[in-house]
């Protein structure tokens, strides 16, 4: 009995960690454009988003009764399966954060669940049709819908606002953008914090602590809300940079159009019965707004890396989830090994991130930004994070994923960055400094 209690405790903590990475990963959705257009200071923006996420967690009482929305058959699910799924989702979230790529946290969770469920009960436990309608189709539809809406809105706002002083109107657009960003944060809190509450509640039910069909206890609601708010407040600055500056350059009008489009799509989709991913809607809206301005460009190299990450989310999280489930099936020591691997893997990714840290001070900094957006000729094509030595990421993946297949999976990701790695972007700012300021060169 003690063994089950310990396992449950581990699952609850892991679910809260996932919730944390979820907030961390998705701050960009609400606040990236708000920060890049200067509507709010970085710290203010994440604080506001965190507060609204926390409020959102308490707002809705309708807790997700299923964590996968029918993608897998949850009737016979074991606590270990939930644990393995969470491990896959967390590691994928951290890896995409390290690479600065916005990807859907829900899809990572779905991927982990699918992998773990297949390993546990075979392919029959996965509802293939639901995977297509709930994951694959929305992944294609969300950026198209949000992008088109934001693009038309940007065109319109430039047409109506033609001939007015840009300085006089910028303040108005920024205020509007803050309102839309607030809506996105609130919606995120209600949806994604609920998801974690659902996971924890399901784990408690499968562990026999709660009666089936019961509502989550207060401590679950409070801790899930706190975890997502804390993650949001710490801010995934790498992803914020990609979304706010990496994909395109946004002016206040565009930022407002993008954020309003994203908020509308998220609310419309969740209330008209065709759920679209928040991350993918926001990324699509940002790109649409970028295309909507005359002379606006979208950096397709960054966008392509993002699309690749979306495509890999389900299989990658699934493979890690399957590997973790394979280990947990071996018994108590397997669970312990998975827990250790999770901590080691997260630690390795965090250490890798420290090589080129991005925080609120330099999130929109032009010097580092040039490298990040690949605007300098030397660093053409990839964010600064791509400059991480391939070895670090590969070892991180190798360390965290027991089956060799997961390492193989990382290869295409690495390969797509290969040109960036050879053409090291690091000299770019140095040479730029040398040109603009000859003095240090002379003294050296």
């Amino acid at each position: 009995m003690e063994h089950i209690t310990l396992l449950l405790a581990i699952v609850v903590v892991t679910a809260l960690v996932f919730d944390f990475t979820n907030g961390f990963h998705d701050t960009a959705n609400a606040m990236a454009t708000t920060i890049s257009t200067g509507a709010l200071k970085p710290k203010t923006a994440v604080a506001m988003s965190a507060a609204l996420n926390l409020v959102g967690a308490f707002l809705s009482v309708e807790v997700a009764k299923t964590i996968s929305g029918g993608i897998i058959n949850e009737s016979g699910i074991r606590t270990e399966v939930i644990f393995a799924a969470l491990v896959g989702a967390i590691l994928w979230n951290l890896l995409t954060w390290l690479l600065g790529l916005p990807s859907s946290s829900s899809h990572a969770l779905f991927g982990g669940l699918i992998g773990a469920a297949v390993m546990s009960a075979g392919w029959s436990s996965v509802n293939g049709g639901t995977v297509v309608t709930k994951v694959l189709l929305p992944a294609v539809a969300a950026p198209v819908v949000a992008g088109l809406a934001a693009m038309l809105a940007t065109r319109l706002t430039y047409r109506i606002g033609a001939g007015t002083d840009e300085k006089a109107t910028a303040k108005g657009y920024r205020a509007g953008q803050i309102a839309s960003a607030g809506l996105v944060s609130l919606a995120h809190g209600t949806n994604d914090a609920q998801k974690t509450m659902g996971v924890i509640t399901l784990a408690l039910v499968t562990g026999g602590v709660l009666a089936p069909g019961s509502n989550p206890p207060l401590w679950v609601i409070v801790s899930a809300g706190m975890a997502i708010a804390l993650g949001t407040y710490l801010g995934g600055w790498r992803i914020i940079r990609t979304m706010g500056k990496g994909l395109t350059d946004l002016r206040p009008q565009q930022g407002f159009a993008a954020q309003t489009g994203a908020a509308t799509v998220i609310l419309a989709s969740s209330h008209l019965g065709f759920s679209l991913s928040t991350t993918q809607s926001c990324s699509g809206a940002v790109m649409g707004a970028g295309l909507g301005r005359k002379g606006g460009v979208v950096r397709w190299s960054t966008a392509t890396r993002m699309f690749v990450a979306w495509g890999l989310t389900l299989p990658a999280a699934g493979l890690v989830g399957a590997g973790a489930e394979f280990l947990t099936q071996q018994g108590t020591w397997g669970v312990a090994v998975v827990a250790v691997l999770l901590i080691a893997g997260s630690g390795a990714i965090w250490l890798a991130s420290r090589r080129k840290p991005v925080d609120h001070n330099d999130v929109m900094n032009e010097a580092t930004d040039e490298v990040a957006t690949g605007r300098t000729p030397v660093a053409a094509g990839g964010p600064a994070v791509a400059a991480e030595p391939a070895g670090v990421v590969t070892t991180a993946i190798a360390a965290v994923s027991p089956p060799p297949t997961a390492t193989a999976l990382a290869v295409p990701l690495q390969r797509s960055e290969a040109p960036d790695l050879t053409a090291s972007p690091i000299p770019a700012p140095v040479s730029a400094v040398a040109v603009s300021d000859p003095a240090p060169v002379a003294t050296v």
Binding site: T169, L183, G273, F274
Partner: protein, 73 residues
């Protein structure tokens, strides 16, 4: 496998119309205020521009309130 094309279509249509309408309204409000400021600076008065701008903002605020209602409900 049954894809709910009707739901997807309505999400597409509603998102498109609402986004464009809201952004358009808000832009008219912002532009109205900017014109009114410019008119005041020139010594004239532009009450209609100001009232129109406030009407636009009020409609946008109503949309935001409806959004919050949707999230809470």
């Amino acid at each position: 496998m049954k894809i709910d094309w009707a739901a997807l279509g309505s999400v597409f249509g509603v998102s498109l119309v609402v986004t464009v309408a809201l952004v358009g309204l808000f832009t008219m409000g912002v532009v109205g205020l900017a014109r009114q400021e410019a008119a005041v600076a020139r010594g004239g008065s532009a009450a209609p521009a100001r009232i129109g701008a406030y009407a636009c903002f009020a409609l946008c605020a109503a949309a935001v309130a409806y959004g919050i209602f949707l999230i809470v409900a």
